[in-house]
Amino acid sequence: MEATEYGWLILAFPLAGSMLIALGWKLLPGRSAGWIGTLAIGLSFAASLGALFQLLDLPADERQLTHSLYDYASAGGLEIEMNILLDPLSVFMCLVVSGISTLIHLYSVSYMTSDVGFRRFFSYLNFFVFSMLLLVLAGNLVLLIVGWAFVGFASYALISYWYRRSTATEAGMKAFVINVVGDIGLVLAALFLFRELGTFDLLGIFEAAPEEFSTNEGVAVAIGLLLLVGAFAKSAQVPFHTWLPDAMEGPTPVSALIHAATMVTAGVYLIGRFYPVFEIALTAADVAAIIGLVTLLLAATIALVVTDLKRIIAYSTMSQIGYMIMGVGIGAYSAAFFHLMTHAFFKALLFMAAGSVIGAMANRQNIDLMGGFRAAMPFTCATLLIGAAALAAFPGTSGFFSKDEILAFAEHRGGFYWVFAIGGYIGALMTAFYAFRIGFRVAFGEPVPEARELEQGHIHHAEPKNPATGEKEDTDVGFPGSSHQIAEREWPMKIAMSVLAFGAIFAGLVQVPGLDAVVEHFLEGSFEDSALYGELPSDAAEWRGLGIGAIISLFGIGIAAQLYLRRPGTTARLQQQLAGLHSFLSHKWYFDELIDALIVRPALGFGRWANTTFERYVVQGLVVGAEGTAKGASALVRGAQSGYLRSYALLLLVGFAGLGLYFLVAGS
């Protein structure tokens, strides 16, 4: 089979799975919908492998293949085909997306067992993966936007999956609308590109861009910035990040899917994919790097104080994506995509472990209530600590090799780019600290009642409440599901987490400075014309970067150990002493309030004014004149209604009917 045929199969399986589950929702017994969903994504992963091997058979410089299925919407000078682009970058993304997603599906089969919406869940989940794969495989900008928006839709559907919770529906809405803002950025970028280059085709754009634009030309920078709006909205970068923590309203596997395999990495992919534009629009690339740095620091500071287990992990995602955006912004493409891959492993793992803990806590998510689970849940705690170690870039784990490679590149590029290296290391310190804040709080310390209960073989059960508001859930409808699942008792969860744990530890070994560079060599085919791709730091410089990273990571973990293991209670004192800072951080730097005051309120205010004043006095008044005339006129009309208007109507009607008859007769 041709490589592109595999490409279509990669898309076909998840779409078919989603439709099969959706249409057959009444006929699928028990967990079968979950197994169908898992199988569909698994087959998609197999097809991705097939595409990979086909691609590897080709000479290195012929690995960009396109294939068009049919003419999607072409007219009036526009040409938009249903085509895919299969190259090392898209295949790499497909492997990560479908591979990690298969495991998340597997996990969900157990985790969502008791939920009434089980089939709906898997239908959405498959559609989510389909959307993401469409995004990465799209061969033209319009199709890319379609995948892009489908991802936004799927995230909406899954975030507000428990749609009876008002917090969930509102979080879904927020994610959707912010994502649409990002879509508009992409649409405008597409229109700009078409105006300048006359094509929507990705390869066409990449070919024409260096010829048509000069370095840092205004139009090119504008296009770059518009692309960034899309990338930032999808990847939750400042100031479009507020939806991501709220997205924790979705079930935990959804969080894993959004944060690890799909969605938030789309922005990284977009910037990497459009490197020919960004290497011309250098200012836009710098903006990307700066926003990445700001986001990684901002999210890390918030992660220090948030107490909701899933939200800490969510902010860590924001921060890690900040590293990747910074990476692609400064030109460290292979390092950024390498980090994307390792992050997918350990972030999915962290969420799965968190899900297991939350199961044991009967859906409560506040880490202040957790502690001492290591005896009750040895497997979960071990995987949680492995995930935390990889996130903290503990020497030897996957996160260690990938994150520090980005920072080493920044250092190597020198000049102004030093700032990114230094900022990145500061972020790394905070990351190491909060990663083990989770690990130590959950696994160690005095066992909480829930942990004790579990040690005696019984999962704690409590009246289900919305963790965000404390509102009682209406259990009559059966979601969230009535029973709780933990990894210790469910083999599918265990398998998924074991595979991920293995990856979180060892995935970094594919790219060790001086030894091998699998990702870098493979992706080379997609970055052939890049001026920066080959500009790699020497092995010695990389090892120096890794060394600094190792020290910082251990230092951060040390602080966490000091605060949470040796002297528990220090943090409470610190909180009181720095109450102002703590409240500023817990309010997430007041971004939600700012957006509300700047955008939402003015719009609502205008609407209210328009409704009550403008519509009544201007629009209505325009034709009829002043209020008094209006009354007079309507009185007049009321009088005329029975007479004039009706006879006019009737006359026309009769005349017309007669006419029609005449032609029916005359025509025959």
Binding site: S74, A149, T169
Partner: protein, 512 residues
């Protein structure tokens, strides 16, 4: 075939008056279905390579006045004819299922309305067009006035009554219609020099009319079309009419009649008054933009589901007008596609509003909630409609908007940038409508009940059309392209400078 299709709904309506009461609806529905079948037949026959009128019928009617009975379809009207047939098919079936009071008159009015609308799309003679255009109003006057229901109104507004709302609508549209009638006669007389000429084909190009006469006649026509759409500032009749109208009739009204205005701009105003079109291009673009923004913001703040739909239509028609007055093939292609899209979305939306009203007792979205739980099929259908309404990429609505924005963007960047803001607002109000109805906790006075299979069949069929178009929007674009270029040809001939300046427009992929 064209003739039969045009008059069949009227004939079925008349026949429905004669048969037994319980058969009335089904006779009318059969007529609507037959019309649909004929429309599909004409589409299959359609030669997309030709720009001109096909299936032409041309007879003398009033020879002394130069009025001819001349009909035909081209790449623009064919899809609007099809849309009309689909919309009426759905609405008539729907009405047949839930038999209205005084069914005979009701179905007769529906039949007249369909024939009149089809006539407006098929007419190739200016006066015939005006005649059909005016005839459309009459059945809706009766449908809205006699079968309408009272509505509590917005805060401070008081109850809206069907009669007063209908009269307001008639006054608004009648003013426009009479102006257009005067304009049409004037155009024919001035162009004819002695014997009036009303054939659209002969008037095309604008050579027959001096620039100064084009200028005022343009506005006579524009008044009629803008009111019909309705556009910003002349939409005063819309909020009242939308709130009292019976929803099945409102579905076809909103889906098709508003399009006659946009169609009129593209098919009548552009080719016959090209100089005036160029002169007033920016004025119309500003009106369109104002409609888009105003309609979107208003839809965003309404609590009545009918008004959300109504104001969103104002915004959508603004987009369509924007596309037409971009005066580029891509913009106008997008406008044609968007006319079809909007119609095919608004019909199921209105029908779903019927179901919501039955389950919640009204159209106030703050008093709905939680319907999805026991009605997964209804929720799914509604979700697809919502996504198409907000022009989700992947739907044909997105392609329509994309084409329109592309057309405007290449000519007038600022307009496109401002218009794009409305896309985000649309996402909000459309989703809000869906969520308020289907999600959140169920209120005690709300009944969560699944859609019936007959209603489900109708709405499902329309949703299937939405999905099919989403997979292949090119089906419309490819057929309308030649005709659209033909309409725009007159305008670019009057502006040779504008055309040569248009260096970025590179025709591609058109083998013909």
């Amino acid at each position: 075939m064209l003739q039969v299709m045009l008059w069949l709904p009227l004939a079925a309506g008349l026949l429905a008056c004669l048969v037994a009461r319980r058969l009335t609806g089904w006779v009318a529905a059969a007529g609507a279905l037959g019309t649909l079948a004929l429309a599909v037949g004409i589409l299959i026959d359609f030669d997309s390579a030709s720009a001109g009128v096909q299936h032409a019928v041309d007879e003398d009617w009033i020879p002394d006045l130069g009025v001819r009975y001349s009909l035909g379809v081209d790449g623009i009207s064919i899809f609007l004819v099809l849309l009309t047939a689909v919309a009426w098919g759905a609405a008539t079936f729907w009405s047949a299922i839930r038999m209205p009071e005084r069914p005979k008159t009701y179905f007769l009015m529906m039949g007249i309305a369909e024939t009149a609308t089809l006539g407006a799309f098929l007419a190739q003679d200016l006066l015939l067009f005006v005649l059909f255009f005016d005839l459309m109003l009459i059945p809706f006057y009766f449908l809205f006035g006699s079968w309408g229901t009272e509505h509590p109104g917005r805060p401070g507004e008081g109850t809206i009554r069907p009669t007063s709302a209908t009269i307001k609508m008639v006054i608004y549209t009648l003013v426009g219609s009479l102006l257009m009638l005067a304009g049409a006669i004037a155009a024919g007389v001035i162009a004819g020099e002695g014997t009036p000429v009303f054939s659209m084909e002969e008037l095309r190009g604008g050579d027959a009319l001096s620039e100064s006469s084009q200028r005022w006649i343009f506005w006579f026509f524009a008044a009629a079309f803008l009111v019909k759409m309705p556009a910003f500032l002349v939409h005063g009749w819309m909020p009242d009419a939308y709130r009292v109208a019976p929803l099945a009739a409102l579905a076809v009204f909103s889906a098709v009649l508003s399009k006659v205005g946009a169609y009129g701009f593209l098919r009548v105003v552009l080719p016959i008054f090209p100089d005036a079109t160029l002169e007033f291009q920016e004025v119309l673009l500003v009106i369109a933009l104002a409609s888009i923004l105003y309609g979107s913001v208003m839809a965003f703040t309404q609590t009545s589901a009918r008004l959300v739909a109504g104001y969103s239509s104002v915004a959508q028609l603004g987009f369509i007008t924007l596309g037409v007055f971009a005066l580029r093939p891509d913009g106008a292609d997008g406008a044609v596609l968007q006319m079809v899209n909007h119609g095919i979305v608004i019909v199921p939306l209105m029908l779903i509003l019927v179901l919501l009203a039955e389950r919640t007792g009204g159209d106030d979205i703050t008093r709905m909630g939680g319907l999805a739980m026991r009605a997964p099929v209804l929720a799914t259908l509604f979700l697809v409609v919502t996504m198409a309404l907000l022009a989700m990429p992947g739907s044909a609505n997105f392609i329509g908007e994309f084409y329109i924005l592309n057309g405007v963007f290449q000519e007038k960047v600022v307009f496109a940038l401002v218009a794009s803001v409305a896309i985000a607002i649309a996402a909000y109000y459309a989703l809000r409508l869906f969520q308020r109805a289907m999600h959140y906790r169920k209120r005690d006075d709300v009944e969560s009940r699944e859609i019936g299979w007959r209603e489900g069949g109708i709405v499902g069929g329309l949703v299937a059309c939405i999905v099919a178009l989403a997979f292949y929007p090119g089906v419309v674009l490819e057929r309308s392209d030649e005709s659209v270029k033909e309409q725009l040809g007159a305008v670019s001939r009057s502006a040779p400078i504008a055309q040569s300046d248009d260096s970025h427009f590179r025709p591609q992929g058109n083998p013909e």
